[in-house]
């Protein structure tokens, strides 16, 4: 563990503790505060809404009463007898006329009216106007807001006015229809409308004038400036900076508002629909009808009394509408939010500070523990920790103390052990190293890429290079003077790598000593020479035998191969001497053979001589003496025959030998020697490569074989000699038509002194010599024979490769 990591870890625990405390303490607090904020906001909205509603309701009631009062006053005015009489008088002139005449009369009256310039007004007109003017002397808002007050009869003819308005005939048919015809409503209240002459939006009230039989005979018209009429009831009601009440009709047309002009059409139909419900209530809406688009709280209330008049008149209802701008309305809520946020921040800070202090208290001893543990881990000697927190940490510290103690104890034990083992290991390594370094044989280990992985001092000596420059190279890249021998070695290792069979310990049985057989001293001995193994390389004047072995390293699955190189120069010299000795031993065998061959006739000669000494019968003496003579002659012939073998020269050097040429020479000698002309000879020679050998020895092989064949045929028969090249070998076949060799003799024919020839005619060495020579040159000899048909010998020699 690096210092950087441990620092991170130290900060981690404290932070974790603080964060945990914050999580546990602050999170519920924040949640509760948020909850209370929302709950508070909701309640506050409810309270505001309710108070707005109450305000709207109160205002609506007030206006209802205002309108109710006006209606009552006008009803009383309408029943004034002077006004009624004035209308009746006017009616008397017109009532009996048909409509056409009435129109002419009214046309005339109108022309008179216009020409008279209101100076020739009838008396009843003046009276009615006076009554109307008196009515306006009342001190109430309606009087001030009045723009016109006049009376018309049922034909629309003006019967009196406070200010000469309107024209002679008032032609508002809708008012007449509502009051005099059809429904006959008691009061008509118009919608807000704009008169052409006066700029202000106007509102018309109309009341029917009835005769004594309650028949409507005229109409009392009162036209107000709408704003002036209601402003006294509505505009004083304000709260805060923007809070106010307004009066609208159900189509969203403003009747009175401190801010908006009368007659203004509220743009938002949804808002209008929301605030024109039949019962007083409050709503939350988006948009306030005054241009704002924020959330607004609006209280509203219908004018329930006035509805009875406006609804039949125009189908409109009137509503009050209490409202305050969003900014102002939500200011307390925002303040609440601010307070709660501040409380949250303060409490989180408090928890953080206190948590940090608490965490420090907890973490401090743990840090000390950690430091101590780290130092113990590094193997330093650490004094016992003194932590007295009275909790698990103290217990942990005690554990660490006892662990530390134990560790220090076992450490010192371990150190000794490690020292001891290291010493042993070093000794063993040096031991094995020095074995490998001091063995006289060179040892080289190759990895699977044939690169040198290890070599010992003996190898370094051979190639005169240090091990550093050897390792990692292969045999061919060592910059050696003699390339050829190393290539042989390299190829051998490579070949071993590619063809090596699985390592096996089987096969080394105890077959050698299973059956003991006394050896026929004349049986051929298999002497394996180092030369015949051919696993040697020659480096300058030294000869090295090499052996390739598999190296099994358990830890690594890769295959390793080693080479053991042994300087066998002396052995090879010895071997040459041995070869000579072998030759001499051949001579020894020969002398043994000679002994055998000569001792047998000697037995006869000696035995018969002894018999003759004791014999008195001259006939018998003569007979035995003759035998002595015969045996002596035989002995001399044996000695004569043997001289052929003994004189065989063996001094010549090896050279390339043409087998065909040698066979020709051998045939000549063999046939000459047979003193016979009855042998039919067939030669099937092919063009064959030469063989590297001593000329005389090759000739000896074929001479012996041919002599055998010629002798076997008894001088009569057919001899077929053929040669051919086969897979880099030279094969010569000699076929005769002799009597054949019995099956039981076939395994013995190469034994020395084995012969089927008559006593004295063969030494039994011919085929033995042939066999020895063929094997010497790495060749092979085969024989097949069938009785009465003939025998075939085929001899194979490896051809000499002169391309290298």
């Amino acid at each position: 563990m690096g210092t950087h990591d441990s620092k991170n870890v130290r900060a981690g625990l404290k932070n974790k503790l603080i964060w945990t405390m914050l999580g546990v303490g602050a999170l519920p607090l924040i949640l509760a505060m948020i909850l209370s904020y929302f709950q508070g906001t909701k309640s506050l909205q409810g309270v505001i809404g309710a108070s707005f509603k109450a305000l709207a309701y109160e205002t609506s009631t007030k206006i209802d009463l205002l309108i109710e009062g006006e209606i009552l006053a006008h009803d009383r005015l309408a029943t004034d007898p002077l006004i009624r009489d004035s209308i009746l008088k006017s009616h008397q002139r017109l009532r009996f006329l048909d409509s056409e005449q009435r129109a002419q009369v009214l046309e005339q009256d109108k022309a008179d009216w216009e020409n008279s310039e209101r100076k020739t007004k009838s008396l009843h007109y003046e009276e009615t106007s006076k009554i109307l003017k008196n009515f306006l002397k009342r001190k109430n808002p309606s009087a001030l807001a009045t723009r016109a007050l006049f009376v018309t009869d049922s034909f629309g003819v003006l019967q009196g006015s406070i200010n000469g308005f309107p024209e002679f005939i008032y032609k508002n048919n809708s008012v007449r229809e509502k009051l005099l015809e059809g429904e006959k409503t008691p009061v008509f209240i118009s919608s807000i409308y704009n008169h052409k002459k006066s700029e202000a939006p106007l509102l018309q009230f109309a009341f029917p004038i009835k005769d004594k039989r309650e028949n409507p005979i005229g109409i009392l018209h009162h036209i107000f400036d709408a704003r002036e009429l209601f402003s006294g009831s509505i505009e004083p009601i304000t709260f805060g900076d923007t809070g106010h009440v307004m009066l609208i009709d159900s189509k969203g047309v403003v009747i009175d508002c401190p801010i908006l002009p009368t007659g203004f059409q509220l743009a938002d139909p949804l808002l209008v629909r929301n605030v024109t419900r039949p019962e007083p209530h409050w709503v939350k809406t988006i948009g306030d009808g005054h241009g704002g688009k924020e959330l607004s709280i609006i209280g509203f209330s219908p004018l329930s009394l006035t509805r009875n008049y406006t609804s039949p008149s125009t189908g409109n209802d009137w509503y009050t509408f209490a409202w305050q701008s969003s900014d102002e309305l939500f200011a307390p809520m925002n303040k609440l939010f601010l307070w709660i946020s501040m409380a949250v921040v303060v409490s989180v800070l408090l928890i953080g500070i206190m948590g940090s202090m608490a965490a420090k208290r907890i973490v401090q001893p743990i840090r000390r523990l950690q430091n101590a543990a780290a130092r113990i881990g590094k193997g330093e000697k650490v004094a016992p920790l003194e932590i007295q927190t009275g909790d698990e940490i103290e217990a942990l510290a005690d554990e660490v103390n006892s662990m530390n103690e134990l560790l220090q104890k076992s450490f010192s034990g371990l150190e000794n052990q490690v020292l001891k083992k290291t010493k042993e290991f070093r000794y063993l390594k040096e031991y094995t190293d020095s074995i490998l370094m001091s063995v006289p044989d060179a040892v080289v280990i190759f990895d699977s890429d044939l690169k040198i992985e290890y070599c010992n001092a003996a190898f370094e000596n051979i190639i005169k290079q240090g091990s550093d420059s050897i390792r990692g190279k292969d045999l061919l890249s060592l910059n050696l003077n003699l390339v050829e021998p190393w290539r042989v070695l390299y190829d051998a290792v490579k070949n071993h790598f590619e063809n090596a069979p699985a390592v096996s310990t089987e096969g080394i049985g105890d077959t050698n000593f299973r059956n003991y057989m006394p050896i026929d001293p004349l049986a051929p001995k298999d002497l394996t020479s180092l030369q015949s193994m051919q696993q040697t390389i020659r480096l300058k004047d030294k000869i090295f035998a090499y052996q390739i072995f598999d190296l099994i390293l358990q830890e690594r699955s890769e295959k390793h191969v080693g080479i053991l190189l042994r300087n066998v120069t002396e052995e090879v010299d010895l071997q040459d001497q041995l070869a000579l000795a072998e030759k001499l031993s051949g001579l020894g065998t020969l002398t043994a053979g000679i002994a055998h061959e000569l001792n047998n006739p000697l037995v006869s000669i000696m035995g018969f001589s002894e018999i003759i000494l004791d014999e008195k019968d001259p006939k018998k003496v003569k007979k035995y003496a003759q035998k002595v003579v015969d045996r002596s002659k035989h002995m001399s012939s044996v000695i004569l025959n043997m001289s052929g073998y003994v004189r065989a020269p063996s001094t010549a050097e090896k050279k390339e030998v043409d087998i065909n040429e040698r066979i020709n020479a051998a045939i000549e000698i063999a046939i000459l020697a047979s003193y016979s002309n009855d042998i039919q000879l067939e030669k099937n020679f092919s063009s064959i490569p030469p063989v590297l050998a001593k000329t005389e020895e090759i000739q000896q092989v074929f001479l012996n074989l041919l002599t055998n064949s010629v002798q076997a045929m008894g001088g009569k028969g057919k001899l077929v000699v053929s040669t051919e090249a086969q897979n880099g070998n030279v094969v010569a076949t000699i076929k005769d038509t002799g009597p054949g060799i019995p099956q039981e003799y076939l395994s013995k024919i190469y034994d020395p002194f084995f012969t089927t020839k008559e006593q004295g005619k063969g030494t039994g060495l011919g085929l033995n010599i042939v066999h020895k020579l063929v094997v010497k040159y790495g060749g092979h000899i085969d024989v097949s024979s069938s009785m009465g048909v003939g025998t075939t010998f085929s001899v194979m020699f490896p051809a000499h490769q002169n391309d290298c």
Binding site: M517, P518, I519, D520, P521, L522, A592, A595, H596, E597, L598, N599, N600, P601, L602, V603, S604, I605, M606, G607, F608, E610, I611, D614, K627, R631, E744, F753, T756, Q759
Partner: protein
């Protein structure tokens, strides 16, 4: 001496195995001159066949054998005889002087190993020596 001479005719026969007729003849004349009854075989095979005929297994008191012979040679013949008639003593008379072979044959139970040519006196002396020694019976 006289005891052996007297008993020789009753003691039975000596089998001579050698491939040389002259050698057999010389040995026969020598042995007969000492009153031994001699039967001959030309090689190991014939010698073994001869031992199986008649009462030869009981009558033959000594076998004199050559080593180098065609067909079954002396060593094989000795192995066979030692297996089938272990109590009959065997003497080797051979033209081939080989001390290793001599030792191995003596270890096998061959009584003596003589190298040709053998003088008459020596032959008879050795034969009598062998015959006078205790016979080895394998009672098991």
């Amino acid at each position: 001496m006289s005891f052996i001479e007297d008993a020789s005719s009753t003691k039975g026969k000596i089998l001579v195995i050698d491939d040389e007729p002259d050698v057999r003849e010389v040995l026969k004349i020598h042995l007969e001159s000492a009153n031994f009854n001699v039967i001959e075989a030309e090689n190991g095979e014939e010698g073994m066949a001869l031992m199986k005929t008649g009462a030869n297994m009981l009558q033959v008191g000594l076998i004199i054998c050559d080593i180098r012979m065609p067909k079954v040679n002396g060593i094989e013949a000795i192995d066979y005889l030692k297996e089938n008639a272990p109590s009959i003593p065997i003497m080797v008379v051979t033209g081939y002087p080989d001390s290793e072979l001599a030792v191995s044959l003596l270890k096998k139970g061959v009584k003596d190993y003589l190298v040709k040519p053998v003088e008459k006196e020596k032959l008879l002396e050795k034969v009598k020596e062998v015959l006078s020694s205790e016979q080895e019976f394998d009672y098991v």
